[in-house]
Structures are given as C-alpha cells and as structure tokens.
C-alpha cells in the first residue's frame, strides 16, 4: 500500500514501542492503554497531515483535520478488526474526514469563475500551458487552481488525489473510500472529465 509507513524524523527513537505492529498497538489502545495510542499518533500524524495538505492549503486546516482523524481513531478503536491493515483503516478515516470538510467549503463553479481576478486567471492559463512563472505569479496561479478544484464534488476530488497524486491503486482507493474497484474507476473517469472541463474553461479566458 502506497500510504506506506514512513519513518518520520520525529518518530525515530521517539517511542518505546518502535517494533510493535500497528495492529498490536491498536489492540492495546482499544483496551484503554493511552501510551499505545500516543505511539500510533506519533507514527502516523505526519502521514495524515500530508494527505490533508493535498486538500487544504492552510496548515491549520490540515492539522485540524488530522486531529479529527485521531479523535475518531480513539473513539472507534474498539471497532478496528486486526485482520485488516491498520493503514487502510486509517486512510479511510482520513479520507472521510477530508471529504466531510470539503463538503462544507465546496463552492459553485460560477461563483469561483466570477471571483477569479483576470491576472490570476491569466497566470493559471500560462501555468497550465507549461510556461515558467515568477514566484508571485506562480502563487496566484496556485490559488486560482485551488479555487477551481474546490468546485469538484469532494468524493471525485478525493479519488483523483488518491489515484493520481498519492499513487494508490484502484483497489486501495476503493478500500479508502468504502466503494468497489469498478465504482472507483467510473468515478475517476467522471472526475477527470470534470477536471478537463475546468482546465479547458481556463484556456483562452482570464483577460490580460
């Protein structure tokens, strides 16, 4: 699974249970051992945080989502089945948390397009055409791209991010989103079509 267990600098040598498996730690956490839960947080917090950063530009928002994820892990520790990999379970909770928050902040395309400044639109067009931009222009182009992506349905966006940016397989995305492999493929196709429409909508538009 590409969510992969990364050795974060903070976790190296930072825990008394470095060799203990996630499943075993979860078992102890479910039994009310706070140290086991702390170890899990230490292991996975940055992975979840980085996933949240894919959806939320502000680190405060990403951290807030990360906290919500671990609160859910804490509350539902007893429901974790040891036969399923912990990272699948965690990724599912994280994806749902990101999706729920995206749902709250989702905006309508016409709202976004009218809110984009002509400059930001033009820089985004140039960025999408592969033209190198100055730092400030590149930042404005990114902001515009973030705004445009906010118009995608959260579930579609989550599938695209997991497949195309996180490098997960369709089977892994299905496990993370609670659907089937076929459903993930159909959703990805639909999401890519919407993304192409958004990218094309910017082509030639945007003014100066």
């Amino acid at each position: 699974m590409s969510i992969g267990h990364e050795a974060d600098p903070e976790t190296v040598g930072g825990s008394a249970h470095d060799d203990e498996s996630d499943a075993s730690l979860m078992g102890r956490a479910a039994g009310g051992d706070p140290a086991a839960f702390d170890d899990l947080v230490l292991r996975w917090k940055n992975r979840v945080f980085r996933l949240a950063l894919r959806f939320f530009r502000r680190p405060e928002d990403a951290e807030d989502v990360t906290q919500e994820v671990f609160m859910k892990v804490y509350r539902t520790a007893a429901t974790y089945r040891r036969d399923a990999p912990f990272e699948h379970w965690l990724l599912r909770i994280a994806t749902n948390a990101c999706r729920d928050r995206l749902r709250l902040t989702r905006r309508r395309p016409e709202e976004i397009l009218s809110a984009l400044t002509p400059d930001a639109g033009a820089w985004l067009d140039r960025a999408l055409s592969g033209v190198a931009l100055q730092a400030q222009q590149a930042e404005a182009a990114k902001e515009a791209a973030v705004e445009l992506l906010a118009t995608l349905p959260p579930k579609d966006r989550a599938v695209l991010v997991l497949l195309d940016l996180e490098g997960l397989s369709a089977r892994e995305v299905a496990a993370a989103t609670g659907s089937t492999r076929a459903a993930v493929k159909v959703r990805a196709m639909r999401a890519r079509r919407a993304l192409r429409r958004l990218a094309l909508g910017r082509k030639g538009g945007g003014g100066s």
Binding site: N46, P59, L124, S129, G130, V146, E147, L148, A199, R202
Partner: protein
Amino acid sequence: MNCRRTRKLLRRAAGGEIADEARRHVESCPACAIEARAHLLLWLGSERDEGALVRPGFEQRLRARLQAETTVARSSAWNGGFERLVRPALAAAAALVLVCAGLYVQVAAPQGGGDLASLLETDPVFTSVLTVDPDAMFADPNMTAATDEP
C-alpha cells in the same frame, strides 16, 4: 509514443514535471494536451510540501481536545440520564396521584350511593321525575291555561 502511455506518464509525473517523451507527444496531440492541462491543474491545486510536519505540540493539543470532548460527553450523558430518570418518575407520580384521587372519591362517597340503582331508589329528584305523569311533563302550559278559562 501513444496516448495511453502518455497519460500514464502524466499521472506519474512528480511535482508537475512531465517526462520529455510525454511532452513531445503532448505538443502534437490536442487530446493529450487537454489531459496534461487537467493534470497540471490538479497538481497545482493540490501541491504540498512533501516534507511538511505537524507543528510541535500536536499530541498535547490532541489530548486537550480529547479531554474536552470526554468532559462534554460525560455531562451530556449525565443530562441524558437525568432526563431518562426524571421523566418516568414524573409520569409515575402523576399516575399515583390519579389513582389516589380515585380511591379517595370511592371511599369518601356515601354508603350505597355509588351506583345508579340505589340512586334511583333514594334520590328525591329521580323519584319525582319517575313518578310524574309523562303527559303532564310534556304538556304545553299555555294550552292548559286556555282550557281552564271559562
């Protein structure tokens, strides 16, 4: 290079950087050019610092949030329990009052006066009503007065 391979490369493009062979194909294929734009849009809007770490003190903040949540859950559980106990208790008390009132009425009523049969026998109002001539009861008093006149 064909479109299928190009799109695969586009999706694998790390940091928005497209491989040279894919770039050459994109320049000559309008459909893949659109695909490249779409992928770049996704990448631009989802870009992150690959080495990003949560701020120090994350565990403490998480613990504080968990404790706050536990406190709220406990107080709402207490309120819920209070509700669950008080409501049935009030209903039971109301039912008890009604039963007591019924018993009191039964006990306080005069002996033999509680049922309709004995009421018919003993109550003067009922007796007078029953003994009166029905014709006289429904007769028009004006008509009676007229026939009495000479």
